[in-house]
């Protein structure tokens, strides 16, 4: 059985915070915890297909959202995933007020710093629970 923790970002397309969420999740699953974590396309989860519902059902998930609408967290829950931790990018960027994080399509160095911070927090949780 697939026991990997699923890390699901919102990948919001309108602001840099969506890109920060996306890059944080991808850094975690590709670089920091490839053996213990994976991602699933949020758009696939939204589709509600039987195959992805089975994949998500009762699986442990960490979500990363770029805005207060919490799309990743809500959609994972709707699909039957268990959200063990939900990250809000805005909580982390609060500590970096006045910095230029980049744009929805690219990150400046300060944006990369936030990605590093969030992905390290996600990795810590994954290593604790898996």
């Amino acid at each position: 059985m697939d026991n990997k923790v699923k890390v699901i970002p919102c990948s919001g397309i309108g602001k840099v915070y969506g890109l920060i969420a996306r890059e944080s999740a991808l850094k975690t699953v590709i670089e920091l915890c490839p053996e213990k974590s994976e991602t699933v396309c949020l758009a696939y989860i939204v589709s509600g297909d039987e195959e992805v519902r089975k994949k998500m059902e009762n699986s442990r998930c960490i979500t990363v959202d770029g805005c207060p609408k919490m799309c990743a967290s809500k959609n994972v829950a709707i699909a039957g995933g268990v959200v063990v931790e939900e990250f809000k990018v805005l909580d982390t960027v609060k500590a970096h007020k006045g910095k230029n994080f980049g744009m929805p399509t690219y990150l400046e160095a300060d944006g990369e710093v936030v990605v590093d911070e969030i992905s390290e927090k996600i990795a810590r949780i994954i290593n604790e629970i898996n």
Partner: protein, 150 residues
């Protein structure tokens, strides 16, 4: 006076390069296209948002941009919102092997060849928009969301 607008909606899939290309190409069209105003929506807002978000494809003639042949953006839009006016399957433009590449997904790993793919897909989106009848463009406004934007 209301401006006429077209919706462009990307899957932004996280599992493969096709999703990254779909997201970047959609943003490129939103930022650079001049002959018609474009708007977008974060796809997961169909379920996480409200009625306004679910009305997106009813308000705007909408082009879906999908990274692979699962066509999640197209199918979800037709399931939750309304009929699609045009669709792009990125895997048909850049090839299935490229689209399903699960090693190169992060922006920082993209090479010039990947940005050429973005340009090519953006060109196809523009072609798809140009096939729409100008009569179908929406003059309505849309509040958008916290993360998606116009």
């Amino acid at each position: 006076m209301n401006e006429l607008k077209v919706g462009v909606l990307s899957c932004s899939g996280e599992e493969c390069l096709g999703g990254t290309i779909s997201r970047l190409a959609t943003r490129k069209v939103l930022e650079e296209l001049k002959f018609v105003k474009t708007v977008t929506l974060c796809l997961p807002l169909y379920l996480a948002g409200g009625e306004e978000e679910r009305n997106f494809a009813k308000v705007f003639p909408t082009i879906s941009v999908d990274g692979c042949d699962k066509l999640c953006a197209k199918r979800s839009t037709e399931k939750y919102s309304g009929k699609i006016s045009g669709s792009i399957d990125v895997s048909k433009i850049i090839g299935t092997e490229n689209a399903l590449n699960s090693r190169i997904i992060r922006n920082k790993d993209l090479k010039p060849e990947h940005y050429e793919m973005v340009d090519k897909v953006a060109g196809e989106i523009v072609k798809e928009i140009s096939h729409l009848s100008p009569d179908s463009y929406s003059g309505k406004s849309f509040g958008g969301c916290g993360c998606g934007g116009e």
